[in-house]
Every structure is written in C-alpha cells, then in structure tokens.
C-alpha cells in the first residue's frame, strides 16, 4: 500500500509544495539488435513507445537512456537525434532503457493549476448549494484525494486505490501545515513552503498512514 505524492495548492491555484513519496520504479533496460521490434514515435520533447509492448516495456514509456548515457529529450547525450540513431543498423546492438517519464516541476505547476480550476468548476456545477468541491478522483491505478480548507488551501494526496485512512491523513497534513509552515515566522503566506520541519513531519505522517494499511483506522 503506498502513498505516491502530496501536493499543496494555495488560494490562487499555485503549487506551493510537492512531495514524491513513492514512485514505482519501472525502468527496463534491454539490448536490442536491428531491426527494432518496438514502434517509437516522438511525443512532446521525448521519444515514446507507440506499439510493441513486451517484457516490461509498455506503451507510453519514454526512452530514458541509450547505451547507458541518458538521453536529452529527443537527442542522445552526444547530440544525435534518437530516432535517426536507432534507424541506423550500424549502431546496433544497442542497449536502451525505457521507463515512465517523471513530471518536471513546471509540468507539476501546470497540472496543479489545472486541477484548481477543475475544482472550482466542480463546485459550480454542483446541483446543491455549498458543495465541498472535488473530494476524490478515482482511476484504476491511483486515487487522488483532495481537501480544501475554509481558508482556501488545497491538500491533495495521490495514493494507491486500496489505501485507507486518507481523510485522516489529509486532516493531519493540515495540522502539520498550520504548525510548521504557518507558525514559522519566516514563512510568507501563499509562497512555496521551504521548511525543513514541515518536510520531516510530513514524511513521518505518510509513513504512519502507510503502515496502517488497508485495514487501518478511519475511513
């Protein structure tokens, strides 16, 4: 049972804190000979697997490294285009590492703002007045739990769908925020949280919540 990450969004929709607690590492490195039986295509700034899923390499995984050297977007470490490199039989056999691309901090900022807007739309769409807004977003691989305080700060926790006790965890994170971020006289409100004590106590709270497991206390 795992808690994947925690996001804290301020009143204006800006991300002020983000923690990746557990990322399932699913990198796979394999040696290939020409021709490559995977279909690769460029996507945004990366080269991703479009078809040909096998052996732990899934559709959507990005090329992370070639022959041990990390790729730089669509180019290899020495500046050659990845797709051209892999299209040339002279470069084979080649060892390629595939894996899920991790979000950059800019992407996380954008996604947090988008969620903030969706949250606002959600409360407006509600047929009842005074809706609490989006509380949970469920997918097959994770559940996103959101708690908005009466002061407008949102705490979001992405966790395994079977993880319980997230409501209590969200309240606990609110307490930790009010203690170690707000009571720190050098922390300005609505700004990114850079408080060591906040980090430490948050990690402790996440570990306690994880240990409680699926049969843990609370709902």
């Amino acid at each position: 049972m795992a808690i994947f990450s925690v996001y804290v969004v301020n009143k204006a929709g800006g991300l002020i804190y983000q923690l990746d607690h557990y990322t399932p590492r699913s990198d796979t490195e394999k040696t290939f000979s020409f021709p490559l039986d995977l279909v690769l295509r460029p996507h945004d700034e990366r080269v991703v697997v479009a078809f040909g899923q096998r052996d732990g390499i899934r559709v959507g995984h990005a090329v992370l490294a070639i022959n041990g050297a990390e790729v730089n977007g669509r180019f290899t470490a020495d500046g050659k285009d990845v797709l051209e490199f892999l299209g040339n039989p002279a470069n084979y056999p080649v060892s390629i590492r595939f894996g899920r691309h991790r979000l950059s901090s800019n992407e996380k900022l954008m996604l947090a703002s988008m969620f903030h807007s969706l949250f606002a739309i959600g409360s407006q769409l509600s047929p009842e007045v005074g809706s609490s807004g989006i509380e949970m977003l469920e997918t097959d691989t994770f559940k996103l739990h959101c708690f908005q305080t009466l002061t407008g700060i949102k705490f979001m926790v992405l966790a395994d769908p079977r993880q319980t006790g997230i409501d209590a965890l969200l309240r606990k994170i609110y307490e930790i925020y009010s203690d170690f971020a707000l009571k720190n006289p050098f922390y300005s409100l609505e700004m990114p949280i850079r408080c060591e004590l906040f980090d430490q106590n948050l990690k402790l709270a996440l570990e306690v919540a994880e240990k409680a497991g699926p049969f843990g206390p609370g709902s």
């Binding site: 005074g130 305080t149 009466l150 002061t151 407008g152 609110y174 009010s178 409100l189 402790l204």
Partner: protein, 180 residues
C-alpha cells in the same frame, strides 16, 4: 497552550505568567517607541492581524468546526470555541443591531490584563488588548469575512465590562467561502 504532536500525547504547557508578562513587555516597549496612543493601538492591531491570518488555520485544523452559515453562528464559534481554546475564557455573545451584522463579545475575565490595574494617565486612550482585535480581524479575513473589530468598552479605562465589537462588513454571499 498545548499541542499534541505525533504519536505521544505530550502536553507542552507554558506558564501563563510568562505569556502575560511577554504581552505586557510588548505593550510597554511599543509605548516607549511611539508617543501617540493611536500609533500604539495601530501597531498592536497590525501585529494581531499577522497573528490572526496564521492562527485561523491552526484553529480550523484543531477544532474541526463546520462552516458557519450565519454571522451569529460565526460570533458564537469565536466566543465559545476559539476564545476557549486560546485564552481559556468564554465571553458571552450578544447581537447589537437589527441588521444582524454587529455583535459584542463581553469578556468578564481577560487573562492578558491579570496584572494591570489601570492605564497610566498619559496613556488614557491606549487599547491595551488591541492585539486581540487584530487577531479576530485577520482570522475572519482569511475565511473571506471582512469585519471591523474594536474595543467598545474596556475595564482598564473605567468601564464596567470589557466589550469587543465585531461588525461584519459585507453581505453574506451564497458562495461556499464562509467563515467558520
């Protein structure tokens, strides 16, 4: 003043005397720094405001009160839950206007003035506990309720009771942001 961190229930209590003395030292220093009473009052209000904007989240996190649906509910929560939690006293609430947006909190016991008998002659218009007004104002603002808070009566100035007046400024909107 007690918190319960982590797994162990540790109650860290600080001496009340220390708190009251600290507040007294603060007011005394401000009196030395500023000549006019209005300046001291304004300074206390500002300090209280910056405390209030941070304190409100602590209050909401620990007391788990629900969103208030009316001004009178808000005033009740301030008096019965917040004052009790932070100062250990429970003022009584009364609504003093027909429009329903002016309230008074009557404090019969005020820990901050435990050791103060009366104001010195040259500081006759000093609001000794003006910090509290700033705290309430800041806290209400963070939950989207604008209010004016001031001392209507003060025992230190010779009145019978200490009375804090809260006047809510905006009409309640039908949106989800309501004070609690």
């Amino acid at each position: 003043m007690s918190r319960s961190p982590g797994r162990k229930q540790e109650n860290h209590k600080i001496s009340r005397e220390l708190f009251v003395l600290t507040y007294g030292a603060l007011v005394a220093q401000l009196c030395k720094d500023y000549e006019k009473d209005e300046d001291v009052n304004a300074c206390l209000d500002r300090m209280g405001y910056s405390i209030g904007i941070r304190l409100v989240d602590d209050f909401l996190a620990r007391s788990a009160v629900r969103k208030c649906r009316s001004y009178s509910e808000t005033a009740e929560v301030i008096a019965q839950v917040a004052f009790k939690m932070y100062l250990g006293v429970t003022p009584s609430v009364s609504c003093s206007s027909a429009t329903g947006n002016e309230f008074s909190l009557i404090l019969d016991k005020n820990p901050l003035v435990d050791f103060v008998e009366e104001l010195p002659a040259e500081r006759a218009s000093l609001c000794y506990c003006n910090l509290l007004c700033g705290v309430i104002r800041g806290a209400l603002e963070m939950v989207h309720l604008a209010a004016e808070v001031s001392f209507l009566q003060d025992r230190l100035k010779g009145d019978a009771v200490t009375e804090i007046g809260i006047t809510f400024l905006r009409k309640p909107e039908d949106r989800k942001h309501r004070k609690n």
